[in-house]
Amino acid sequence: MAFKTAFQKSLPIFFSYLFVGMAYGLMMNEAGYAWYTALFTSFTVYSGAFQFVLITFLSGGASYLTVALTALLMNSRQTFYSLTFLEEFKAMGRRKLYMIHTMSDETYAVNCTLDREDPARKDIMFLVALLSRLYWMGASVIGAVLGQVLPFDLTGIDFCMTALFITILVDQWDKRKSHFEPIAGGLVGVLCLLVFGKQSFILPALLLVSGLILLRGQPRKTGKEGSA
């Protein structure tokens, strides 16, 4: 039952990872790396957009510092994701480390849609994480091995991730009373995209929108932790 729910929830991730992961494997192959190097990266790093950047670093002979700093800047958004699921992952025992490692934009989004009351909630989260990572690793290998001989044109299928984000946003909009957060996120996101450009806007956008939400705050309770 948990598996069925997890599989259904993971389907948009399946289609997105299949396409993007194959594109990744294909590019690794074109850069001169074998399928097992693509698999090794997808297995250890597991971070979509950054893995593409990493290809050029690997083939261009970049320094360790460049790689580390770029990973820091491109992936620090995921620190924000952990804030939402901190307590739940902590309660997942041995699976905690796996949940932390497999936190991606997509699994974060899907985790946000799970029923809070479902007794199998933690199992579903784990299975979504497991399946998504398998899709990503499998697609990387497929792309690296036979990407060039694939007969169909799947260009654009990665839009299913955009569509998933939109449906989640609409659901959250309908479910929550306050619309300040999504509006602020959208406006700040577009503003930062225009100011910082598409390569590097997501971190400033997340920092700024978090700041706005904190500043707006809740009605202040008196006598609680004396911050000014």
Binding site: F50, F159, E181, G185, L193
Partner: protein, 103 residues
């Protein structure tokens, strides 16, 4: 060999970023109330930023940008109307792939 050590460095940094809040608030130390509240109010804000993120190529302009914006709008309206995630994703993605080839 260097290829693999570079990949491992990237993996280590990425994992550390994901794990950071767990390290800071490990054991008995719990999250302060304001951070806990931020974690709970962030998802819709993050999701809005992710929508912008996944449509970021729009700034390049052209017919792909138009296809993305139209398909995104149709997905949102369809979902507001029917509330079926499956239908919204299939229809939105299908429309996008179609527009990419037609525009």
């Amino acid at each position: 060999m260097r290829t693999y050590t570079l990949i491992l460095v990237a993996a280590l940094v990425t994992f550390s970023l994901r794990a950071l809040p767990f390290v800071i608030f490990s054991g008995q130390r719990t999250m302060p109330a304001w951070l806990e509240r931020l974690g709970q109010t962030l998802p819709p804000a993050i999701m809005a930023v992710l929508v912008v993120y996944s449509l970021r190529d729009t700034v390049d302009g052209g017919s792909a940008a138009a296809a993305g914006l139209i398909a995104a709008l149709v997905t949102a309206l369809l979902h507001k109307w029917r509330h079926s995630t499956f239908l919204s994703i299939i229809a939105g993605t299908g429309l996008y792939m179609l527009l990419l080839r037609l525009l």
